[in-house]
């Protein structure tokens, strides 16, 4: 089972890209078992998923200095922790801290981050046009990453 998780608050502009992509993915037919999770803004939801040993794909917006709507995909590991620090969650726990905590708790699930550069995360603004335009590319990225996981499982 592959878990695909959208992080973010739909009331906060482009921060809502994670949940928006999850809703789009509900209409996609996958040929292997997946679970779609709208985790909102609570970092502890991610911690819970990370220690469950099943591979994860996380979609969230992140300030990376790219153009709004640019997508950066990376594996979450010690090397990439500084990327993960850009991803903000509630209660003072960022994704990098959650990842490190999960590692201490014995997690070894593979975690891929699909990070999207936001234009605005102001309250009550909805997704910007740049981010809306990027949704098909994000969906394609998710599907490709999912296929990679499926292929790996078949090979193993």
């Amino acid at each position: 089972m592959l878990k695909i998780i959208g992080l973010g608050n739909i009331l906060r502009g482009d921060d809502g890209i994670g949940p928006a992509v999850i809703e789009e993915l509900r209409t996609v037919k996958f040929t292997f078992p997946i679970e779609l999770i709208d985790a909102g803004g609570d970092a502890f939801n991610i911690l819970d998923q990370m220690i469950s040993k099943q591979p994860l794909i996380l979609i969230d917006c992140a300030r990376m200095g790219e153009k709004p709507g640019e997508i950066v995909t990376f594996k979450l590991d010690q090397v990439n922790l500084k990327w993960a620090e850009q991803i903000v969650s509630l209660h003072g726990f960022g994704l990098s801290e959650i990842y490190q905590m999960a590692q201490h708790l014995g997690a070894d699930a593979e975690c891929t981050i699909i990070a999207v550069e936001p234009k605005s995360i102001e309250f009550n603004t909805g997704l910007s046009q740049e981010i809306r335009m990027s949704i098909p590319r994000i969906i394609q990225t998710v599907i490709q990453e999912s296929k990679n996981y499926a292929q790996k499982n078949i090979n193993n």
Binding site: N9, I10, L11, P19, I37, D38, A39, G40, G41, D42, F44, N45, L47, D48, I51, V88, S89, L90, H91, G92, F93, G94, E97, Q100, M101, H104, L105, F123, N124
Partner: protein
């Protein structure tokens, strides 16, 4: 005795809320002791204006990532009151189960992940992963159990979709409820007991501080007040929810972008300790035992004990959920459709206890079923004046302790209230100015 003290605990980055602790004492006179809230206003009420009654609860559930279920419930009840939508007993029971789940989830995470590091003076939860791994895992199992409740009862683990104005669009099966019941009995109860046992070993770490204040919570003479009831003041008794503005009396202060509140005194407290003080007689027997084990007797005037009251509620909510699911299984789930035929359009006011305290939503709908005006009063705002008053009493009592210790106790005090800004206070850089 120290005559001068200046503390400026300031935090800016990487959190949902921003809070600063500012203390200024000169020549033995305490000029300032306050929690500054510098977060920009979000205007949730403006977001609701013009929205149809079917959208409102979904929007409000996103106001807060942690209290999302509580906002959703309060919103649904306010909409139903405004539109004259009656709901069934089955709907009420299902909602109570959801409220229990979200309460024990939030309480256990706060008590064990955010407050316990204070008791052990370790700065954050991360060192606990190595030293107290079993209790961290128990807390995470309890969180997952609450997510399972959300999944079974409302269609999703996070941000429910099937609870709508007038009822539920999808109902759990008997089989799903039985599975949940087994998990609550076999995992939830022992994990909660274990967490209480661990907390009981930390009692000597809790600062010895008392300040009697007014305690305000939902009160219901049939059950521990969480899902519904009147407003209860420990000073002057019960008030119908429609009179909430007489109770909250919000006012503006210079040092906070969030309004403060007061009723019969200069300030009042909401949250787990307020609920415990007002409704402790209605706790389930095992929760009463947990309170005894944690040295929590009502009335309790130590705000640091709020985290212990939260753990007592964890035990209560799990046992109450077991009882509620048993009722549903005994009666078998009826295939009811949500009642979405408004009988009137007007104003509706509702209250629910969310983990951090009493929450109010107040909506006025037009004849098209869209919101014209809305007002939401959240618990953290209601606690702010009380936190300031606690600091004013506490600082002179601990003035001769080392500055680091004073700062630690002040931060710990703020976090004990489990405010939505607790994260920011957790990550504060502390600057002393002599």
């Amino acid at each position: 005795m120290r005559k001068d003290l200046n503390i400026d605990v300031h935090h800016i980055t990487r959190v949902e809320g921003h809070g600063n602790i500012v203390v200024d004492m000169k020549n033995g006179r305490l000029k300032t002791a306050q929690l500054e809230i510098v977060e920009a206003p979000r205007y949730f009420e403006a977001m609701l204006k013009g929205r149809n009654f079917n959208e409102v609860a979904i929007i409000t559930s996103r106001i807060c990532g942690i209290c999302s279920l509580g906002h959703q419930m309060t919103s649904l009840k306010a909409t139903e009151a405004a539109l004259g939508l009656e709901i069934s007993e089955q709907t009420k029971i299902l909602r109570k189960i959801l409220v229990n789940g979200s309460t024990f989830q939030s309480n256990v995470l706060h008590a064990l992940f955010l407050a316990t590091p204070d008791f052990l003076n370790v700065g954050s939860v991360f060192p606990l992963v190595d030293t107290h791994k079993d209790v961290v895992l128990a807390a995470l199992r309890l969180k997952r159990l609450a997510n399972d409740i959300g999944d079974v009862i409302s269609g999703r683990a996070v941000h429910p979709i099937s609870c709508v104005p007038g009822g539920f669009t999808k109902l759990p099966t008997q089989q799903e409820l039985k599975g949940l019941l087994e998990k609550l009995i076999n995992e939830g109860k022992p994990d909660a007991k274990y967490a209480v046992d661990v907390m009981a070993t930390l009692l000597d770490k809790i600062p010895d501080f008392k300040r009697e204040t007014e305690y305000i919570s939902v009160y219901n003479d049939k059950e521990y007040g969480l899902y519904d009831g009147d407003i209860c003041s420990s000073d002057t008794g019960l008030y119908p929810v429609e009179k909430y503005l007489q109770v909250t009396n919000e006012f503006i202060v210079v040092h906070s972008t969030s309004k403060h509140a007061r009723f019969n005194r200069n300030s009042y407290m909401v949250g787990a300790l307020a609920r415990f003080n007002n409704s402790h007689k209605l706790l389930k027997p095992e929760a009463k035992k947990a309170a005894q084990k944690l040295g929590l007797n009502a009335p309790n005037y130590n705000p640091y004990m709020n985290s212990l009251a939260q753990m007592v509620e964890v035990v209560h909510c799990i046992d109450d959920t077991i009882d509620l699911i048993t009722i549903l299984l005994d009666c078998t789930i009826k295939d009811e459709k949500p009642n979405q035929e408004p009988t009137r359009y007007g104003r509706g006011i509702a209250t629910t206890e969310v983990p951090r305290g009493i929450l109010f939503h107040d909506y006025t709908y037009n004849r098209q079923g869209s919101i014209e005006t809305a007002n939401c009063i959240i618990p953290t705002g209601q606690n702010l004046a009380n936190i300031d008053d606690d600091m004013k009493k506490l600082i002179p009592e601990i003035i001769d302790e080392p500055k680091e210790q004073i700062t630690h106790k002040l931060e710990m005090l703020v976090r004990a209230y489990d405010p939505c800004i607790s994260c920011s206070v957790h990550m504060l850089d502390v600057e002393f100015i002599e």
